[in-house]
């Protein structure tokens, strides 16, 4: 600030002394600083809201609470350096391994179904014979606008045999429906909620990239005698492959982070534990067990794993999906 205030007087002096190099130097310095000033808001926001919390999580993950004796009263508790203890405990915790396996099963059910439906709907909407396209598009997209907690509550009502209209109708017809909240079916029940909410979003991404395809290609295909289905399979899908890959990546990340659906359904049934998914485990450690340090270590592991899986996936599919762009 002080430099800014004195700058004009200096400039006046150089003006009196005559035009020369000092003036040039100042404008050069100013020019050099300008990009940094422009970047400052972004950098500050990144440091405050991204880098600092991550750094703090890292610090926490290497600490633990230690008490002595009864642990009551002043000075009985202290925070000590834990080394890799928290990490070792997280990785070797059978509950953590079990939650990872559950989420992988959940992803194996959800992702193919969600992307399959999204692709199917996008192609149907894009085909020339579609009627009421705008309405259908909105109708398919709408569930995405419903927050996951709300949709889980809605589906929870529909799943509970005592209040579900499906069970009511089935009972009247003399059919015994199994409860989707049973331990064998609960993964499907959760995947169904995510499917309901997620198809619309992925469909819009694919549909948008279909719209960007030049019409001439379709005309050429038509002239060559290709049917709608052949056009879809041989032209449309290969062209929009990059966006399919992208939606697959997003879906994988979302799968690893599943939290709202099982957390909302948990109080309704005995089949979900408080450590059903890895993030639920983190939440439980941090807020139910007041062990923020273990939670921090598990979070770091999940973040690294997510990063590694995304990277690996892109490496594997990149050549095939984006090959034609180069």
């Amino acid at each position: 600030m002080a430099a800014t205030a004195t700058a004009p007087t200096q400039a006046d002096k150089t003006a009196i002394a005559g035009p020369g190099s000092p003036r040039k130097a100042r404008s050069f310095k100013q020019r050099a600083l300008t990009p940094y000033a422009m970047l400052a808001p972004g950098i500050v926001l990144f440091l405050v809201f991204m880098a600092a919390p991550i750094a703090y999580t890292l610090v926490l993950s290497f600490q633990q609470k230690k008490v002595s004796g009864l642990g009551l009263g002043k000075g009985a508790q202290s925070t000590v350096f834990a080394g890799f203890d928290n990490y070792i405990r997280s990785v070797t915790d059978p509950e953590f391994t079990a939650s990872v396996l559950r989420v992988l099963t959940y992803g194996a059910i959800l992702i193919p179904l969600m992307l399959g439906f999204a692709l199917l709907f996008a192609l149907l909407l894009d085909s020339r014979r579609t009627r009421a396209g705008n309405f259908s598009r909105t109708a398919i997209f709408l569930p995405y606008a419903v927050p996951a907690v709300i949709s889980s509550l809605l589906w929870g009502f529909l799943y509970l045999p005592g209040v579900s209209p499906f069970h009511f109708v089935a009972d009247r017809l003399g059919i015994a429906l199994p409860s989707l909240l049973n331990p064998d079916l609960i993964t499907f029940a959760i995947a169904n909620i995510a499917l309901w909410g997620g198809v619309g979003f992925n469909m819009i991404v694919m549909y948008t990239s279909l719209k960007a395809v030049p019409q001439e290609i379709y005309e050429a295909a038509k002239l060559d005698g290709a049917s709608e289905i052949q056009t879809a399979l041989r032209i449309k899908i290969p062209i929009i492959a990059p966006s399919v890959v992208m939606t697959a990546l997003f879906s994988m990340i979302a799968t690893l982070q599943v939290f709202a659906e099982p957390t909302t359904l948990r109080p309704l049934a005995n089949s979900l534990s408080t450590s059903w998914s890895p993030l639920m485990l983190v939440y439980r450690d941090a807020f139910t067990r007041n062990d923020i340090y273990s939670a921090a270590a598990t979070s770091i592991i999940i973040a690294l794993a997510t990063f590694a899986i995304s990277f690996l996936f892109l490496r594997i599919v990149q050549k095939r999906a984006f090959g034609q762009e180069n």
Partner: protein, 440 residues
């Protein structure tokens, strides 16, 4: 162009500086300066979640212009405690007073979050409370960590109309309860006398407490955990047997399905606490006048006992600069006849103060207008609450209850229920040891 940009940047930096300044003055001012002069004004903040508590506090503020209390409404027991623990870790930001459930007190004491009130007026309130309640605010030692506010003595609620139709007598022992459960379920395969809820650790604690359990104990300078012992195993085995026979439901309470079952007579009874009328009128309003309350079924009719489900106290935090004034307020709030009456009338709690409960609770709640002696039954139950000690990791034990008993209720076998008790014990002890507590 350039100079206007510079002016903009300067303004932005100034604004940022102001913002940070604003932040730093905003935090850490919830406590006030040390006060020695009795005529000097004292400002106290009070975190609480009981409904309409601010209206009770208004009475105090009117009478005590020098000690002004501001209620800061909280979302509930768990979030308030999490916030307090964060403030204690941070070294500032805690209120003067906090509403703390009994099972949270050892955790708070372990985190050095509560002030010892044994040197203040609050120690004179001892006579006002049942001994079991007083023990849970002293942890059985010489210190005093809070003044009891309300309790949840458990009782048995049942649909009197359905009992009459089935010709059932009110069960007075657990054997009779099991027989009644069978009759109810045999008469209507969709109806149950009750449900075993894996969601409500506090409920199961109350049942175990009735049977004589006390899950933690201080043994010299070590903690001992006594979950996997006879009383709790007896209770878990009993319920596991009922669930295995299929005469008691295994689904959690407080679900839309459970609410519907309370309404349409498929849940015929509910083992609950003194605050049940509020829940029933909210969740099953259409059944008003059809319910009645009776004492809990007993293990030993010669020695009637009951447990507590819920209940909280008023504690002074370790960051308060006005412990004496805060303690004076806490004593008034929970033992002054006018305050206790107001707590009952506007906050709808069941007071821990024995005399206060007797004088304030005369008329049965509206939902139970068919049973004029409602509070005689509940009041008698409150007298037979047995002592129960909580430990420093109740949160871990309760969480273990949720997970272990969810599995057991799903498995529907008596042996799974007994395994769940062993699992709770294991998780609770492991957690204590991991943190460094001495465990016997």
């Amino acid at each position: 162009m350039r100079s206007s940009f510079r002016a903009g940047a300067a303004a932005m930096m100034a604004a940022a500086a102001l913002l940070t300044a604003g932040c730093s003055t905003g935090s850490g001012t919830s406590t006030v300066e040390q006060n020695t002069d009795p005529n000097q004004k004292v400002e106290l903040t009070y975190w609480a979640w009981a409904p309409n508590l601010d209206k009770v506090v208004d009475i105090w503020n009117e009478k005590n212009p020098n000690i002004h209390v501001t209620v800061n409404k909280q979302d509930g027991g768990d979030p308030a405690i999490t916030k307090l623990l964060t403030a204690v870790n941070a070294g500032s930001g805690a209120p003067d007073l906090i509403q703390a459930e009994y099972q949270k007190i050892p955790t708070l004491v372990a985190a050095d979050a509560l002030a010892d009130l044994s040197g203040t007026d609050a120690k004179d309130t001892k006579e006002a409370f049942p001994e079991a309640v007083w023990n849970s605010v002293t942890l059985g030692g010489d210190a005093l960590y809070a003044v009891p506010q309300d309790t949840g003595p458990m009782a048995f609620y049942y649909r009197a109309d359905i009992f009459e139709r089935l010709g059932l007598a009110v069960p007075t022992t657990w054997d009779e309860y099991a027989a009644a459960a069978k009759t109810v379920h045999d008469a209507d395969p969709e109806a149950y006398l009750g449900t075993f809820s894996s969601n409500d650790a506090g409920w199961f604690t109350g049942l175990a407490q009735q049977a004589g359990a006390s899950w933690w104990a201080i043994d010299g300078d070590a903690w001992s955990v006594k979950i996997a012992e006879d009383p709790t195993e007896k209770v878990a085995g009993y319920w596991g047997g009922l669930v295995e026979q299929g005469i008691i439901d295994n689904k959690p309470m407080y679900t839309p399905e459970w609410n519907a079952a309370l309404n349409n007579g498929k849940q015929v009874g509910w083992l609950s606490a003194a605050w049940a009328p509020g829940v029933l009128s909210g969740n099953a309003g259409a059944t008003a006048g059809k319910w009645k309350v009776a004492p809990m079924p007993q293990w030993d009719s010669a020695k009637p006992a009951t447990g507590n489900w819920g209940g909280s106290s008023t504690a002074v935090t370790s960051q308060s600069k006005n412990v004496a004034a805060a303690s004076k307020f806490a004593s008034w709030l929970n033992t002054d006849p006018e305050a206790v009456k107001a707590l009952v009338d506007v906050a709808g709690i069941y007071p821990a103060d024995t005399e206060g409960a007797k004088t304030a609770l005369t008329k049965a709640p509206e939902f139970f207008s068919n049973q004029p002696d409602f509070y005689d039954v509940v009041g008698e139950a409150a007298q037979s609450v047995t002592s129960f000690s909580y430990g420093p990791n109740v949160n871990v034990a309760y969480n273990a209850y949720n997970d272990q008993f969810a599995k057991a209720a799903q498995a529907k076998t008596k042996s799974a229920f007994l395994d769940a008790v062993a699992g709770m014990q294991q998780v609770t002890v492991d957690d204590l040891k991991k943190t460094g507590f001495t465990v016997k």
